[in-house]
Amino acid sequence: MTPAGALLAAHDLRKAYGPTNALDGAEFSIHPGEVVAVMGPSGSGKSTLLHCLAGIVPPDSGSILYNGHEMATMSDARRSALRRSEFGFVFQFGQLVPELTCVENVALPLRLNGTSRKEAERTALSWMERLEVDGLRGKRPGEISGGQGQRVAVARALVTNPRVLFADEPTGALDSLNGERVMELLTEAARSANAAVVLVTHEARVAAYSDREIVVRDGKSRDMERIV
């Protein structure tokens, strides 16, 4: 059953890798503008859940509805288009193209969607300002710090105005202060754009930036808000 008004909802998701059940009947739902933390120990199935929700990995069974449409019945082209324009992604590291400047990196998703260079870089700069990294526009990823790089990556993930931002351990490679700043800016920017954020983390301090949490253990998920 899909919770009313959910932007993205999954029901009874199952996914096995060989003999391992990465997902074993997981449930999930998120509303527009909501930040949901997906927590759980290493190997619990958190990242697999994110990959299935984002259409990167197909589940073995179960349903995923995005905006009321079943993802499994979408064509590959439609799913790719979704990932390019309606979903944004932030990972732990290694996301920026080293040969491009920061502003070119942020503008890249728009360029891939056919936006002119001038227009793409103008939009990219406005996002870089919100993430407080506009001063790095001409630098290449190798010339900036990890915290700055992560903020550039967040700007790039939001530049297409995605409806869902998927963040997998976005502060995992940062120290506490940089991690907190990234989380503050990420959640502020996402909320102001009314984007939903699926935040995979094992860190409670990062999860504390969410509106509610879902706990994944042994491939099963528990929505704590509906339990407490």
Partner: protein, 174 residues
């Protein structure tokens, strides 16, 4: 927290009235728990009796007389000694949560449920503190960080215990 030492320390920058002391204390350290006037005056009487402060002047006002207190040499030494003495680390060996988990296992109740519910409650508090920190000044941030790190430590214990429930169950019912 030692209110006496804190008030003494506040007096080191110069003599103050009881009211000013309360205001300075509340502003810097009171936050959710401001001092009562009664606490200030009883503390100052004790410090006076012990020779750690002296009355620097008395002003007649509309209400009760307004004493101005100054720290003495002995008071400065006392503050110095207090600051230099490390606080005893809290050993956290008496955990209600541990007791609840073990009791749940002994009585064949769902211990994982207890841990999950507690995690959720901890996170709820962490969200409140994170929000307060985001809106607050540097002092607020430091206070909230202290609380957040402690809650985080609890949560790590909850996770670890959740991962060890099977073994713990075997050990306690043996």
């Amino acid at each position: 927290m030692s209110i006496g030492h804190t008030l003494l320390g506040l007096l080191e920058s110069g003599p103050r009235h009881g009211y000013d002391l309360k205001r300075a204390f509340d502003e810097k350290f009171g936050h959710d728990r401001p001092l009562h006037y009664g606490q200030v005056y009883s503390t100052m009487s004790r410090l006076l009796k012990n020779g750690l402060v002296e009355v620097d002047g008395i002003e007649a006002g509309e209400g009760p007389e307004r004493k101005r207190y100054a720290i003495t040499e002995a008071g400065v030494t006392d503050v110095q000694r207090w600051l230099a003495t490390p606080e005893k680390p809290e050993p956290y060996l008496q955990s209600t949560l541990y007791t609840k988990v073990v009791l749940a296992l002994l009585t064949h109740r769902d211990a994982a449920e207890i841990l999950d519910t507690q995690r959720s409650e901890h996170l709820r508090m962490m969200r409140i503190l994170t929000d307060r920190k985001r809106k607050g000044d540097l002092a607020d941030q430091l206070i909230c960080d202290h609380a957040l790190f402690h809650l985080e430590a609890d949560l790590r214990w909850l996770e670890l215990t959740a991962a060890r429930l099977g073994k713990l169950a075997e050990a306690v019912v043996r």
